[in-house]
């Protein structure tokens, strides 16, 4: 690389910054701090025409160093952050927020709360308006901390209740926290965004005080309002709420259906399949099959016995009834090119057999039906299974042999 012998202020500071970054990447905090010391003078306005503000860079780098440096303390961090707040008015609330997060990560909840309250009361002309979003976040997090207090007090009350004590002051405080929390939480979840934690807490509050309607409305909004980004968790929360309140199967299913569309590999899909399999309605059972096949498309479920047993049960049930074989055919069509290698290789047969008999049992059934009795997987497992004299394997073998023609029909 050619070395530039021209040096100006801007270039010198750029070089300094790259040294800082190198040191940070290599976790050499002392060295990073050393170079940062030389970088700091770039905060003073330079006399060249361009004026770039390095204060954000310094804030972020300084924070990083102070987080990791062995000699740094919370006190140092606080003093540094306070200076950063005064350095850039345009960034004031952002710095406050990050400061809060840091305090929370270090377990200093009260201090974090004080920090947020202080920030909430900040006013600075038009900056207050410009930083409106940050202000909303600050209020929201304070609401969250209020919820946390509420939660603690609730637990105290419950304990006392068990002991037979009554504590009026705690109860009143608790209600106070509820009010403060509810106001702020409600505000923030109005804005389109991902507010999982806030929603959960808010719903918890509403449920405790018996306002189920409001809770349902909140969850519906969160899940179905198109302005909000697609969020699988929203549907999970809704589902869980509906389940808690014993809502109809129909509503449960419609909630989970959307989840299936967004995240086919979600863990709730197992429950979903079980629910659908049991249904009397044909459409739902059909959906159930679709759901369970989709789950097993994902590598994370490959060795999950429960998933395989669901699929096995449903496939078995269909085969026995001799109705709706075309369902299996439809599902298998798009999978027959890659599932054999993905799930039913000889290597996997051996591995599954050695590690988890039940798994291999379920899988063997599915393999036997989908690929026929002569497929590698079924042959291996059934052979070894029968050797162990386990009854179920003998039954399995018989079953697959009996229904082998099915395979022919499916694979065609």
């Amino acid at each position: 690389s050619s070395h530039e012998y021209k040096l100006n202020f801007k270039k010198s500071k750029e070089m300094c910054l790259s040294y800082i970054q190198d040191a940070m990447l290599q976790k050499q905090w002392k060295r990073a701090a050393e170079f940062l010391t030389f970088y700091i003078e770039s905060l003073e306005k330079d006399f060249s025409r361009e004026y770039t503000s390095p204060s954000e860079v310094i804030w972020r780098i300084g924070t990083e160093i102070l987080c990791h440096h062995s000699h740094s303390s919370m006190k140092e961090f606080n003093s540094f952050t306070e200076q950063m707040k005064t350095l850039g008015v345009k960034r004031y609330l952002k710095v406050c927020l990050e400061h809060t997060f840091h305090l929370l990560c270090n377990g200093l909840i009260d201090e974090a709360y004080r920090n947020l309250s202080l920030a909430e009361s900040w006013r600075f002309g038009e900056q207050t308006v410009i930083q409106g979003k940050e202000m909303k976040l600050i209020k929201a997090y304070r609401g969250l901390l209020d919820y946390y207090s509420w939660s603690k007090q609730k637990n105290i009350l419950l304990e006392h209740g068990q002991d037979g004590f009554e504590d009026l002051s705690v109860e009143q405080e608790m209600h106070g926290c509820f009010r403060k929390a509810a106001v702020n939480l409600k505000e923030i979840i109005k804005i389109p965004g991902v507010w999982d934690l806030f929603v959960k807490c808010y719903v918890d509050l509403l449920e405790f005080y018996g306002d189920h309607n409001e809770a349902r409305q909140v969850l519906n909004e969160y899940a179905y309002n198109s302005k909000f980004p697609a969020n699988p968790n929203a549907h999970v929360y809704l589902y869980q709420f509906l389940k808690r309140h014993g809502e109809s199967k129909k509503s449960l299913i419609s909630a989970l259906k959307i989840l299936h569309d967004i995240v086919p590999s979600h863990e709730l899909m197992i429950d979903f399949n079980i629910m659908l399999q049991k249904s009397k309605k044909r459409k739902r059972r059909r959906l159930g099959l679709e759901v369970i096949f989709a789950v097993l498309d994902y590598a994370g479920w490959k060795e999950n016995v429960k998933a395989w047993s669901c699929l096995a049960r449903q496939v078995k049930q269909i085969v026995i009834s001799e109705k709706h074989l075309d369902w299996i055919k439809q599902e298998w069509n798009s999978r027959k090119d890659w599932w054999p290698a993905f799930h039913f290789s000889r290597y996997l047969a051996k591995k599954n057999w050695q590690e988890n008999e039940s798994l291999s049992y379920e899988k063997a059934l599915v393999a036997g039906i989908l690929l026929g009795k002569d497929c590698k997987y079924f042959k291996y497992v059934s052979h070894h299974g029968c050797k162990t004299q386990a009854k179920r394997f003998r039954i399995l073998k018989k079953f697959v042999n009996k229904h082998n023609p099915v395979y022919v029909r499916i694979s065609g």
């Binding site: 040096l7 300094c16 060295r31 050393e34 003073e44 006399f47 060249s48 005064t86």
Partner: protein
């Protein structure tokens, strides 16, 4: 006042000054042709006024400052720089006579065209020092004094009142924007005005003076001393007296945000020399430090190359006649000859010699080195033969270490100084607050830096790399012999290498293209790049400058061959 000649007409010693700046005898009113424009390098903030033209110098401003002009600031700076150079060993003549006279001449030349035209009025910028308050009033030294600026129309006589009022008008309009009286005007001056003084130009002045005196300091040495802090440049304004307040436009003039660049300083120096109508500079002869024979010896030592190479460099110098005084000496204003950069020239000569001996095509030099190594095994008498490979290893190691250190130093460079500057009073509190924050943060993170001592200023040294023959590790190559790579032919030692490759087949037109050749590392052998990089580091200049010079030397050296054949390949037989 200190003009003590006797009047030609009446033999009295009783002089006054006309408005036109000439001496006249008060007794017989004989006007002489002698003008008074001598400048002292001291700045004195004056309290009394000489009322030659009845000009008034405004007293203290509200903030305790006094009026000062931009050129007074530069004068101070030059003085500081000259003092620093004297401390480095430069002869005192430089400060007391040479630089002084150059500056005086510059002021003369520029003041003649220097004309403030606010609202159409011509104003004399005047600052006068009283001789009695002068510190150095020794008879031999140039006596203390004033700057006189002549207005455009010389015969213009101003009345007392109008002159006084015009001075104050200027002060009022400019003092808001700058601490100096003429700061804003200085920057707004007509572009056609040649050679407005700048910070880099102070170094051009210094170098010009050094060259005039043929001091043993090259321009690259000078600039290196500046970068190392031995010569004040960055933040030199902090040495201005308290009363010289700096703000507003002054900052644009006196505060630098970049290191001076070799080319810029050099070219300005040439412009300056021509502008001042200087005559031919004192001859650079072969006993001068700046002569390529001398300089190449120095660089050979610094590059840890065998002394024997010096014979070769002298031969090349002689062959292409670059050792002649006429070639080397600066003649200002002469645009026909290419001006000489002594340091670059000497370095380039060495590079050419290395190419002559070792070819440096990434192949031959290593073969030759192995060959020398073989011969070394049987070499019992005398010193060892020079092996390129060994030298390369030693130098590369040192160079990498030094380069890395230099890079870190440059990244750690601190540009601000204690003295705070601001554009206007409005910004003052903000700047102060900011400074406080900076100091706090520096302290905080300084503590976390571990026990790192602040980098000490290196002692000024002419040599950046030094090698001692007393080292038993064999890392010094000065005494090594070239016999290992030479052969005897007709009783003479010549190179074993019969080939040569030209860096460029054709030189570009410098005026059109800006360069004589184009250097790109990928286009040339690694060994060549290495050697260029070495000298680039020593001289602290872009590798392309050295490469350009190498091309020029090669073209001179192989001139005949180049002229003969219209087309040829880049390999040449010597």
């Amino acid at each position: 006042r200190d003009f003590n000649e006797r009047c030609a007409q009446c033999s009295e010693v009783n002089w006054g000054l006309t408005d036109g700046g000439r001496f006249y005898c008060r007794s017989c009113h004989n006007v002489t042709e002698i003008t008074r424009e001598v400048v002292n390098t001291d700045f004195i903030c004056n309290t009394r006024i000489q009322t030659i033209s009845k000009g008034l110098r405004k007293q203290e401003k509200t903030d305790g400052g006094c009026e000062w002009y931009v050129c007074e600031g530069f004068q101070l700076i030059l003085k500081k720089q000259a003092e620093a150079l004297e401390a480095l060993g430069v002869c005192p003549q430089m400060k007391d006579e040479v630089l002084c006279n150059f500056w005086r001449r510059y002021l003369q030349k520029t003041k003649q065209a220097y004309c403030n035209t606010t609202a159409g009025e011509t104003v004399k910028a005047l600052s006068v020092c009283d001789s009695s308050t002068d510190v150095d009033s020794e008879p031999e030294r140039p006596s203390p004094l004033h700057l006189l600026s002549l207005s455009e129309s010389e015969g213009d006589l101003q009345t007392d009142s109008s002159f006084a009022s015009s001075i104050s008008k200027v002060s009022e309009s400019t003092s808001v924007c700058s601490g100096s009286v003429d700061g804003s005007l200085y920057l707004m001056k007509n572009r056609k005005e040649k050679l407005r003084m700048t910070m880099p130009m102070t170094l051009s002045f210094c170098y010009m003076a050094l060259l005039w005196l043929r001091e043993p300091m090259t321009l690259s040495d000078l600039l290196r001393f500046v970068a190392e802090g031995h010569i004040p440049y960055l933040n030199v304004f902090q040495h201005f007296p308290e009363k010289m307040k700096l703000y507003g436009f002054d900052l644009k003039i006196f505060c630098v945000e970049s290191w001076p660049v070799y080319e810029e300083v050099y070219n300005k120096m040439l412009e300056l020399a021509a502008f001042l109508d200087l005559p031919r500079f004192p001859d650079i002869t072969d006993s001068c430090f700046l002569h390529p024979d001398m300089l190449s010896m120095k660089y050979l030592m610094e590059a840890n190359l065998p002394d024997e190479l010096h014979n070769w460099t002298c031969r090349v110098v002689k062959k292409i006649c670059i050792g002649e005084a006429d070639f080397l000496t600066l003649v200002p204003g002469n645009n026909s000859t290419r001006n000489v950069k002594y340091d670059v020239l000497a370095a380039a000569v060495i590079v050419v010699v290395l190419k002559l001996l070792f070819l440096l095509d990434d192949h031959y030099e290593w073969l030759l080195s192995d060959f020398a190594e073989e011969r070394n095994k049987n070499n019992k008498e005398g010193g060892p033969y020079f092996e390129f490979k060994k030298w390369y290893k030693v130098i590369k190691c040192s160079l990498d270490v030094k380069q890395k250190k230099l890079d870190e130093e440059r990244a750690k460079y601190l540009w601000r100084c204690e003295k705070l500057l601001f554009y206007s009073d409005k910004k003052k509190s903000k700047v102060l607050k900011r400074r406080q924050t900076v100091v706090n943060l520096q302290n905080q993170f300084g503590k976390l830096s571990g026990s790192v001592l602040p980098a000490e200023k290196p002692n000024p040294s002419s040599f950046q790399l030094s090698w001692s023959e007393e080292n038993t590790d064999g890392s010094c190559f000065h005494g090594h012999s070239l016999k290992g790579i030479l052969q005897e032919k007709c009783g003479l030692l010549t190179t074993m290498n019969p080939d040569y490759w030209l860096c460029t087949v054709k030189l570009c037109n410098e005026k059109m293209c800006g360069h004589l050749a184009h250097y790109g590392e990928v286009d040339f052998p690694q060994s060549y790049n290495f050697v260029i990089r070495l000298f680039s580091f020593l001289l602290r200049i872009q590798p392309s400058y050295i490469h350009d010079e190498v091309c020029v030397i090669e073209h001179k050296l192989f001139n005949k061959k180049l002229c003969k054949k219209p087309k040829y390949n880049t390999g040449l037989r010597k």
